[in-house]
């Protein structure tokens, strides 16, 4: 069962439209909400006037003054208001919300509200904060910072034969889930409120909204409906919208829904943090690494929200999967007056992986070692120490992944033949051809003590009739959790997959298994569920053994039947009925605890940052058109180790999808910030996403290096595919043309400019 291509449980309902997403659920008397937004990026609110030709008595209008409880949204940091009160920190920040019978009426009313502001000076771009950072300008507001490492980096660089230095920058990236953010609040008969919607983390939304309404969690529950994609974009942001609709629903005494339109969603919801990474590295002549010194700046946007944890993960992965005898990392997120940046698949790592993997190619070049050999020689191994001084103990697949990649892609031969310095004859009429490699890792589960703090709880019900029901707060956003978790349970219990299902995710009925983020669902939640299933199986076998007067170890459950050796003893359901007696069901619960050997000190960022890591390699092949400088990608190969594959087709889908998002990040996706602080490309017309015609052939190879504490050996999977393609493509472009573009995306304009600069350099 583990390792089988079980079909998705939700496929049919998604195909015929019977599955209900948030905007598909109808409520009698439902009203619709819209948002009044601040006109300036930074300033003080001086007045909010309900003007226009609108009968305001027929609508519901709410500002910060109407919030009965906590005015700020409870997240990792609790600094962002639901509705701006005094200070506005980004253009478009919500200052009021309106509910009306139709969306059009609500939007019209919002347009009639005049918001008066007294402007303050705004800091808008990564470039500005990096310039100030380099000058040590005290104006900058730090939202979060971490530094860690080991050894005297200056002395080590001094002693190195070769020192290479470089800076790399990456832009905002929009998650671009196809279903925009949507939330509904429904007042209930008992005076409570239900908040439901397109959200990844019900136990983030529930306490945030309850605190805002100043009610207990007994008066507020959250239902996570199936999502039309999320990718991190529905991790923290739904708490904001949930607060808005709950406030309006309470005032209106009726259900209220908000559905963002696409341009609002792009312009005002969270994005991937723009980042600048400055790397100094030293190596011996033979290419052995000596030291790395890494300085990281993230553009946090207007509020800290998730920045502390995104920055932390990005920084921890910044030295790459390499053995550095000496390494120091300093990372800081500063405030800008743009919408807060937050979670997006990869969570800080795509930025730093792009930087270090671009840099490693440059260092290898100076050391005159081929890129694959350079990586193989310097890769982390069992017993090595990472930047946080974690000593790697098991499930390190660095060598397997690199070697397998060389084998299946024939990288070395292509690298020697192609490229500006390759042995192939150059045909200037044909596109320039190149190949690039990246090597990356990804910590599975929450960072450091995160999993200990969450202490994920799961429950499994065995129900009369033989049904097995999973109760967890892990949500289904398309990744397949509600198919894969039953697979893990069915496998451990010995029943068919069809007999196991995941209950609707409602905080009233499911325990807090933690947020659906950080590639933790299969590994952590699945691991605990596997434990529950084994407990349940043992209980059933014991009870049956008692009745039959046999030893429990002589019994087993196979495909929904109880067996005593070869003897069929009847169905699971029959024996379950006997064991349950008069009870309707029996519940098995488990709670996650960190393995006792894991140690982490948050303040110094020292110790076991992750229980385990996944490992991957990406090889990109490019053709660059010499007249347009457009990068065509005929093929991307991903080789990834995920511990143990539960469902190969679903796993492959995760890798393919993540890889294409990474290709978009590398080549075409860019939001851009205007002079007034507005995000510029706020539609799918201008924010360019890869289509069927841009998507390369994505070849996926999965390796299995089991992790002892994962279900069946599985580790995390969802995020890692986002880390590889951007640096592999940057390296392939450099290989093809001999120029390096150090800021994403690798647009034709930038490649052309780099080529022109190189030509000018050569001729002067």
């Amino acid at each position: 069962m583990i390792g089988d291509n079980k079909r998705r449980k939700d496929a049919h309902d998604k195909m015929d439209g019977s599955l209900r997403y948030t905007a598909d659920v109808d409520y009698p008397g439902l009203w619709h909400a819209a948002t009044v937004r601040a006109p300036l990026a930074h300033g003080r609110l001086r007045g909010i006037r309900q003007g226009g030709n609108i009968d305001w008595s027929k609508l519901i209008f709410a500002t910060a003054a109407d919030i009965p409880g906590t005015k700020n949204v409870r997240m990792i940091a609790q600094d962002m208001p639901f509705l701006a009160d005094d200070l506005v920190r980004y253009k478009g920040e919500p200052v009021a919300v309106v509910a009306a019978p139709t969306r059009a009426e609500a939007q019209m009313a919002c347009r009639a509200v005049e918001v008066e502001m007294e402007p303050l000076e705004a800091i808008l771009t990564l470039d500005e904060i990096v310039a100030k950072h380099q000058r040590g300008d005290p104006d900058l507001e730090v939202l979060s910072q971490w530094s860690f490492g080991h050894g005297d980096v200056e002395a080590a660089l001094e002693s190195a034969d070769i020192v290479v230095e470089g800076a790399y920058t990456t832009p905002h990236q929009e998650q671009a889930y196809l279903e925009t953010n949507a939330m509904t609040a429904i007042p209930e008969d008992d005076g409570g409120v239900c908040v439901e919607g397109s959200l990844q983390c019900p136990y983030y939304v529930a306490p945030a909204v309850a605190a805002m309404l100043d009610v207990g969690l007994d008066k507020l529950h959250v239902r996570a409906l199936p999502m039309g994609g999320a990718f991190g974009g529905k991790e923290d942001f739904p708490s904001v919208l949930g607060g808005h609709v709950a406030l309006l629903a309470q005032k209106a005494g009726r259900p209220v829904r908000i559905v963002l339109d696409r341009s609002e969603d792009i312009a005002y919801s969270t994005k991937r943090h723009p980042a600048w990474m400055h790397i100094r590295t030293g190596a011996a002549k033979d290419g052995t690494l000596i030291a790395a010194d890494i300085d990281i700046v993230f553009d946090g946007g207007a509020y800290a929200t998730m920045s502390p944890v995104v920055l932390s993960r990005g920084a921890i992965h910044a030295p790459g999967p390499y053995r550095w005898p000496v390494v120091q990392v300093r990372a800081v997120a500063y405030r800008t007056h743009t919408p807060p940046n937050g979670a997006f698949r990869g969570f800080g790592v795509p930025q730093t992986a792009y930087a270090i993997e671009s840099h490693m190619d440059r260092l290898a070049q100076v050391c005159e070692v081929e890129p694959h050999t350079f990586r193989l020689n310097n890769r982390l191994r069992i017993g090595d120490r990472t930047g946080t001084s974690q000593v790697l103990k098991d499930s390190v697949a660095s060598e397997e992944v690199l070697k397998h990649t060389m084998e299946v892609t024939d990288f070395a031969r292509k690298w020697r033949k192609w490229g500006i310095k390759g042995t192939d004859k150059h045909d200037l009429g044909a596109p320039a051809r190149g190949v690039g490699l990246s090597f990356f890792w990804h910590g599975a589960g929450f960072t450091g003590a995160g999993e200990a703090r969450i202490a994920a709880r799961v429950a499994l019900d065995l129900v009369q009739g033989g049904r097995v029901r999973i109760r967890v707060s892990s949500t289904e956003m398309g990744q397949g959790a509600h198919t894969v978790l039953p697979q893990i349970v069915a496998n451990a219990l010995g029943v068919p997959h069809s007999q196991v299902s995941v209950d609707p995710v409602d905080t009233r009925f499911v325990p807090d298994s933690g947020p659906t983020v950080a590639s933790r669902t299969t590994m952590i939640v699945g691991g605990e569920l596997e434990g529950c299933a084994l407990d349940a199986r043992a209980w059933l076998l014991q009870s049956t053994a008692d009745k039959l007067q046999r030893a429990p170890e002589t019994l087993s459950v196979v495909e929904g039947r109880l067996r005593g050796g070869k003897e069929d003893l009847g169905s699971f359901a029959t024996h379950l009925q006997a064991a349950l007696g008069d009870n309707e069901l029996k519940t098995f619960e488990r709670q996650h605890a960190l393995a006792p050997h894991l140690q982490w000190d948050e303040a110094s960022h020292t110790g076991d940052a992750y229980a385990t890591y996944t490992w991957g390699c990406c090889v990109a092949e490019v053709l660059i058109h010499r007249d347009t400088y457009e990068v065509e990608v005929p093929r991307l190969t991903m080789v990834v180790d995920v511990g143990r594959i539960i469902n190969p087709k679903l796993a492959k889908g995760q890798v393919e999808g993540g890889t294409l998002q990474a290709l978009g990040y590398a080549l075409c996706e860019e939001v851009g910030v205007g002079e007034d602080g507005a995000l510029l490309r706020d539609s799918f017309q201008t924010y360019i996403l890869p289509t069927t015609l841009d998507a390369p052939e994505i070849e996926v190879h999965m390796l299995e290096k089991p992790y002892t504490r994962g279900p069946g050996g599985a580790k995390g999977l969802g995020e890692m595919p986002m880390n590889g393609a951007a640096p592999a493509l940057a390296n392939a472009v450099e290989h093809a043309l001999g120029v390096r573009v150090t800021d994403l995306p690798l647009s034709p304009e930038k490649i052309f400019a780099a080529c022109s600069a190189a030509r000018a350099g050569r001729s002067s």
Binding site: N5, R7, R8, D10, A11, H12, K14, M15, D16, G17, S18, L19, R20, Y21, A23, D24, Q175, A176, Y177, L178, E179, T180, P226, M227, G228, G229, A230, F231, D261, R262, M477, G478, Q479, G480, K649, L650, K652, G653, E656, G657, G658, T659, L660, Q661, S683, F684, Q685, L689, T691, T692, L693, A695, E697, I698
Partner: protein, 160 residues
């Protein structure tokens, strides 16, 4: 504003609809007929998730005014795919190839594949890619979707 009235054949069933002159086809299908497989992804003609077949041709329901469709127009949405062999093959292909992830793009993708295979039963990969180029999928990387349409073509051939 005066209300318009139209008689269409929707998923094989005769329907009478009344709507405001500017009503979008997307809203009419969702709100009046409860055809919730028709999804709004962008509302501006860029993502393809609202696509439906009008007289066999894919059209964006967010860009088409319901009033543009004459009496007698025949519409197909994903709800109607169960009604014929090609529609069922298309769904089977998507299921087998794991081409459904979040599912938001899926109904329109199914219809896009259906319209293609109706015209070109043995469509090659590049024809499939061209036919679906107007549909954004953020989840799959498209590979599984292309395979699914190919699988549907195979199934239809076997069944024929």
């Amino acid at each position: 504003m005066s209300t318009l009235e139209r008689h269409w054949l929707v998923n094989g069933v005769k329907q009478t609809l009344r709507f405001e002159p500017l009503a979008r086809l997307l809203d009419v299908l969702r709100e009046q007929l409860g055809l919730l497989s028709v999804k709004e992804g962008c509302g501006e003609g860029e993502c393809g998730t609202c696509s439906v077949l009008i007289d066999g041709t894919p059209q964006l329901a967010c860009m088409v005014a319901a009033a543009q469709l004459d009496d007698g127009a025949s519409l197909l949405t994903a709800e109607g795919l169960e009604n014929d062999a090609l529609g069922r093959a298309m769904k089977q292909g998507f299921d087998e190839e794991a081409a459904v992830q979040c599912g938001y793009c899926t109904p329109a993708m199914l219809l896009g594949g259906y319209a293609l295979l109706e015209a070109v039963p043995e469509a090659e990969e590049d024809q499939i890619r061209v036919a679906l180029a107007g549909h954004i999928c953020r989840c799959t990387g498209y590979g599984a979707i292309v395979s699914a349409v190919q699988r549907a073509a195979e199934l239809t051939k076997e069944g024929a």
